[in-house]
């Protein structure tokens, strides 16, 4: 799952060793967030909306890992867990009439590596498509008890029969 692309690898190391406080989030001079260093692959990820086409950057586009920062609502940053969240599969969120009848938006499913919390997140425009397909292939082999657990939480991970849907959606991005 590690990304081969790491634009500021040297910098990320110096950030890490010098002061971990500043390692995760990088701010502009006006205090707004410019980006962050991925907690998994340590690549610099820009928060710029014109790159991701989403309001809130949720995960690293190079390795698809995320962090457990939100508790009740997306972006509330109230979670104290702060552990890494591993991408475990893809699902579809049905939003009425957004992409036509019976067609939903492809979403990433993350699982917290510490507390086991699951969340679904929008795929960003600059997410690595090959990695997303790899993830889909891997998620087909997801254990049945984990699928059941996710279903109880209202998350239905896509299975092998939905490959065409995944491919069709990923071409959009």
């Amino acid at each position: 799952m590690n990304s081969s692309y790491s634009p500021i690898e040297g910098n990320s190391k110096s950030y890490k060793t010098k002061n971990k406080w500043h390692a995760s989030r990088i701010k502009r001079s006006d205090g707004s967030e410019a980006g962050f260093l991925c907690c998994h692959c340590h690549a610099y990820v820009s928060s710029a909306e014109f790159l991701s086409r989403v309001h809130n950057r949720n995960h690293c586009p190079y390795c698809l890992w995320s962090r457990h920062l939100d508790l009740y609502d997306p972006g509330d940053r109230l979670s104290a867990c702060k552990s890494t969240m591993m991408p475990i599969g893809l699902t579809v969120k049905f939003i009425a009439k957004k992409y036509g009848e019976g067609f939903g938006e492809l979403m990433l499913v993350h699982s917290c590596s510490d507390c086991g919390h699951h969340s679904i997140n929008r795929i960003a425009a600059d997410d690595d498509s090959d990695l997303l397909l790899e993830l889909f292939e891997a998620s087909i082999r997801l254990k049945s008890n984990e699928r059941r657990l996710l279903k109880l939480e209202g998350i239905e991970v896509l299975n092998g029969s939905q490959k065409k849907l995944v491919q069709a959606q990923l071409i959009r991005y």
């Binding site: 971990k20 406080w21 940053r77 104290a80 867990c81």
Partner: protein
Amino acid sequence: MNSSSYSHDQGVVVKKNISNYHVRIHDHVEVCGMAMRLRKELSYSAENPNASKRVVRDVKGFDKTDPIVVGDRVIVANSADGMRAIIEILPRLNQLSRQDPAPGTHKFEQVIVANVDFILPVFAVADPTPKWGLLDRYLVSAESMQIPVIIVITKVDLINDRYRELELVLEMYQRIGYPVILTSSLKGTGMEELRHILSGRLSAFVGKSGVGKTALLNALELGLGLRMGRVGNGKIGKGRHTTSAAEMVPLSFGGDIIDTPGVREFALNNLDRKEIAKFFPEMRPFIGACKFRSDCRHDEEPGCAIRRAVMEGKIDPHRYQSYLTLIKEI
């Protein structure tokens, strides 16, 4: 006023203006000035240390902010020009202070009140919207000085269907151990409860502008007639800073209360980042139980007991976020 009592008197500062102080000595209030030496930190010449008039060698420091605040116990004496002047400030039992919001590289301490028995942070149900982060700052500051706090909620007559949200927040503070009083100056709700608490004690109302601190005081002490403002003159939900100076008001049922001007910001002063968790009562049981013991900042460190407690629901996540905001600011 008897001229014989004009030597050295002890009193309490009840009001201060730009150049003078109102000091309550026994039963009367006197207008006093301030001896300039209270502002300065002087160093004296080592020669002849027992001389009656020592020679000042240097002025080490000069306080930009006023060293005297309402609630201070002071010694008053006659000055050379025949005026009464405060010549000494007696040691304070406690004080509520913030970082002076004035711009500048050096952040001075601004003491708001001193020697109080209670701090009463006042927050309105609406107009202006309560900022719980500000309440947490008051609570931390009061905890650091071991001053008991009672949270006062005003304008309960404005309660609407969003009350459940407010109720949950107040329940959380009550669980931590902070008493909450719901009041309405308009309808007189909660006044008896408040009178019972304030009776015989020196307390201070603190809070944002427009929350109704002075209105509460006027409702508590009928006939007081302190000047009050209205919220929302062009700026929706914002106060107009009607009260511009702190003033101690004697209560007819016993005790005194200090009405303070509304604040926009309350930055903590003179607190160590490592000590902040200690001032969150609900975090105290978990301090020292972290993997990194006293070196843990309770932010991203692995094996942090406080973070675990937040995840287990023992500490409210909003309070934990307040804690993180405070340690990043200091």
